[in-house]
Amino acid sequence: MTERIECRVFEERLDALARGTLPPDLAVELRAHAAGCAACRGLAALGDHLAGPDLATLESRVPDAWIDGMWDSVQTALADEAPLRTSRRSLRVPLLAAAVVALLVATGWSITAWSRAERRSTALASELADQRIRLAELEARLDDAVAPGAATAAGGWLRSLDGADELTLDGLRAALADLPPGTPLLSAAKARALASSRWMPGPWRASLEHLPVDEPVTAADLLNALDELDLPGGMPVPADRLLDLLS
């Protein structure tokens, strides 16, 4: 997408506009721009919605009693999840159990079915929590800027390009999105060579001009550069030439 200069200025000032820290006349100018630009109007609405007290201010508002009380409430919640301890029977328990059995038999249920349902409910809740933890682990891997893992990911990605019969712009975006964002794919020198390559069409060259020049180009950088393109997603990408330049 090609943006007018005014849009770039608008976005640069968006945080200040949402916080209300801009000079009034500049704020009026930017709001006037948003009134005439659907994209920036949407950005302004998003910024206004997300505006609010910063994290430090919010932290200062959290009552000390909540900090002190959180330990107790967590312990209570953990105790509520603990299974019944069969070693702690009282005289009341057998009598109550007998009454429950009579009631459940009378209603057509069995104690076994009830226990099975309870265990299944607990197991499902535990499985759901485990899945959330696995998801957290997968997301945590995105946090790792680990060179060996990144190099392996980059190598695998290049091999997948090599095997691609037909690569489209959307396919290239999807392939890049599969990589950890910090995966280095191009040296700065190679990025400059790519941008100046004679076979690179004009729009592509323009988008690649936004790549960093002093540090390796990562998967996130290439995705950002592709986002600058206003081309149909089904447009074919010459995978063999791309591979030559990336290898």
Binding site: L50, A140, A145
Partner: protein
């Protein structure tokens, strides 16, 4: 916040030291409540979601890798819990009454319940729209714009440069605005 100390407490808790867990709860609850408030706009939910996070941490501490940042691990768990809450439709499990601190924080009942509902609906749409971003853009948006993480810390956590983070945020915000604008036009 000394992350090394947090990692030590977490490692100790993983080996059975409940004192480590308590120190973690006392050190991080304030931040977690504030982050949950950024997602929900409600102090009661923020407290409940934080309690849920601590229960999950306690139950799954064996899955924590001591060679990695505990702060990053717990923030991921907490973020997913907050997002699940919004996806489920802001369901409140129990009504808290008689909490003077909650009453003080929350203030009087909103004059305009419709505005309150509208805020929640828009927040739900924003977070749903974020699901359509690339993973890098989604993480940048959630960690910076929603959770108000520092750019330096978020860039380091994502393994990208601050410049790349700024560019990624630029594209994330633009794409979100287009998605939300398109949804409104279609409705």
């Amino acid at each position: 916040m000394d992350e090394g100390r947090l990692d030590d407490w977490a490692a100790g808790f993983r080996n059975g030291d409940e004192h480590g867990f308590r120190r973690l709860v006392e050190s991080l609850t304030r931040t977690l409540v504030a982050v949950a408030y950024r997602y929900t706009g409600d102090w009661d939910w923020a407290r409940d979601l934080t309690q849920d996070t601590w229960v999950r941490v306690h139950r799954n501490i064996r899955r924590y890798d001591p060679s990695r940042s505990f702060l990053s691990w717990i923030h991921t768990i907490h973020r997913n819990g907050c997002l699940d809450h919004v996806r489920r439709g802001w369901v409140r499990h129990e009504t808290v009454t008689g909490d003077a601190e909650l009453a003080r924080l929350s203030g009087p009942a909103p004059d305009d319940p419709a505005a309150d509902l509208e805020w929640r609906e828009f927040r739900t749409r924003v977070l749903a729209a974020a699901e359509q971003l690339s993973e890098a853009q989604r993480q940048a948006f959630l960690r910076v714009d929603v959770e108000q993480g520092s750019g330096i810390d978020v860039a380091r956590a994502l393994g990208i440069s601050p410049g790349t983070l700024r560019a990624t945020l630029h594209h994330a915000r633009r794409r979100l605005a287009r998605i939300l604008g398109g949804a409104e036009e279609a409705s």
